[in-house]
């Protein structure tokens, strides 16, 4: 049993992302906004397993998160797909401090990309009603999310990367 958990730790972490996404703890929020949780898992996973794996699991994550949110007209898949590909091209940095700083910066940019793509979908959907201008003030959601994601990423991503590296030899690695 213990061996099983060691081998599959990355997949077990993936399963718990939607639970954290639903949990939405208020004490961790900033302006009522939460960090973009899926990026914390996707960054170390893609860095270790490459762009193709990043793309596949970005798509999987998007599917699950779209399923548990009630917004049927908008999707998180494009943002997570692009982040998966991009994160897969990033190499692990040797320097402790620079490495940690990079996680924060990369996750912030990823969160900005995902938030902007989602926001664009809202604007495009409401463009025909000419009510899209009403949505402009909600752009603060993106910036609050970028700040929080970048703030927490060094802490969470470095721990997850260590964990995934530890279990990497026996974990599922999909090569195409």
């Amino acid at each position: 049993m213990n061996k099983f958990f060691t081998k599959k730790i990355s997949i077990i972490c993936l399963i718990f992302i939607p639970i954290i996404f639903l949990w939405h703890p208020n004490w961790l929020g900033f302006l009522g906004v939460q960090p973009y949780w899926p990026l914390f898992w996707l960054l170390p996973w893609s860095m270790l397993n490459g762009s193709i794996n990043g793309l596949i699991f970005g798509f999987f994550l998007g599917l699950i998160l779209d399923s548990i949110t009630v917004d049927n007209s908008f999707t998180q898949i494009p943002g997570l797909l692009l982040c998966g590909i991009w994160f897969g091209r990033i190499k692990i940095h040797g320097d402790f401090l620079v490495g940690h700083f990079r996680y924060g910066l990369i996750c912030s940019l990823g969160s900005f990309l995902c938030g902007t793509l989602y926001f664009m979908q809202i604007l495009v959907k409401n463009f025909s009603d000419s009510t899209f201008l009403l949505f402009i003030p909600s752009i603060k959601n993106i910036f609050a999310e970028v700040f929080l994601t970048g703030f927490l990423a060094p802490l969470i991503c470095s721990k997850l990367l260590k964990l995934f590296r530890f279990s990497r030899v026996k974990s599922i690695k999909i090569n195409f």
Binding site: I64, S67, V70, F135
Partner: protein, 249 residues
């Protein structure tokens, strides 16, 4: 004569990894089709020890008394109008379901709450959800144990509302922040800060005269439309208990 023979026959279906990937994909399709109900039901069980206590019910009842006073005034006026207009939708408060909020996403783009009552308790898609103060939103999907409510602040929410003081209908649009926007399709509508907004008496989606909010600020008219920010009476970020009403249409 050469005997041509394949030394190894490696196909993708011989790889264990391909089957693992295929089964993950099947599972995700299942999650997608069931709208994540397996996750919501799982979340129901693991969050059970942390649900709000029963003392919240007393606070809820006090708030409902205040709300009923506002409703009473509205109903008196509505009664006069009903003598002239027929075929208004009936709503009954007798078949309400009390539910606790087990997941709350009130920030960012996803503005929804998940309640601990689902299809087994008789919750239906389209039922309205009210908290202390007024309307919170509508039930968008249900699983066996839970129901997901799309809040009035969600970018997907659009409901018809009624401005009682100036006797005019408008459209309440969620915009992804805490104050939804009210659109009045008349440039000359004389709305004021502090005006009361309720559900439309002629609505087919909502019961009539449900308190919704108060005008917080008014913007300049644009393209023969007047827009205003609405402060909701029911605060989804602070409510732990809600009532679900199944509509009789």
């Amino acid at each position: 004569m050469f005997n041509i023979r394949r030394i190894s026959t490696s196909r993708w279906w011989h790889k264990k990894k391909s089957w693992i990937l295929f089964s993950i994909l099947l599972f995700l399709i299942f999650v997608r089709i069931t709208k994540g109900s397996i996750y919501k039901d799982f979340y129901y069980f693991i969050s059970k020890p942390f649900w709000p206590g029963h003392s919240q019910k007393d606070l809820l009842l006090k708030s409902f008394n205040q709300e009923y006073l506002i409703k009473l005034n509205l109903l008196k006026k509505d009664n006069i109008r009903l003598r002239e207009i027929l075929n208004l939708q009936e709503s009954s408060n007798s078949d309400s379901i009390l539910a606790a909020v087990i997941s709350r996403k009130t920030g960012s783009w996803w503005r929804q709450i998940i309640l601990n009552k689902g299809s087994k308790d008789g919750v239906e898609i389209g039922s309205i959800v009210m908290g202390p103060g007024g309307l919170l939103g509508r039930v968008e999907s249900t699983s066996f144990f839970t129901s997901t409510v799309i809040l009035l602040t969600s970018p997907e929410s659009k409901v018809g509302v009624w401005m009682d003081r100036i006797q005019i209908s408008g459209l309440l649009i969620g915009s992804g922040d805490d104050s939804p926007n009210l659109i009045l399709y008349s440039k000359d509508a004389e709305i004021k800060v502090g005006d009361f907004v309720s559900s439309s008496p002629a609505s087919t989606l909502l019961p009539p005269n449900v308190p919704i909010g108060i005008v917080q600020s008014i913007e300049k008219p644009f393209q023969a439309k007047k827009t205003a920010k609405i402060s909701l009476l029911a605060k989804p970020q602070a409510i732990d208990w809600v009532q679900i009403f199944n509509l009789k249409i």
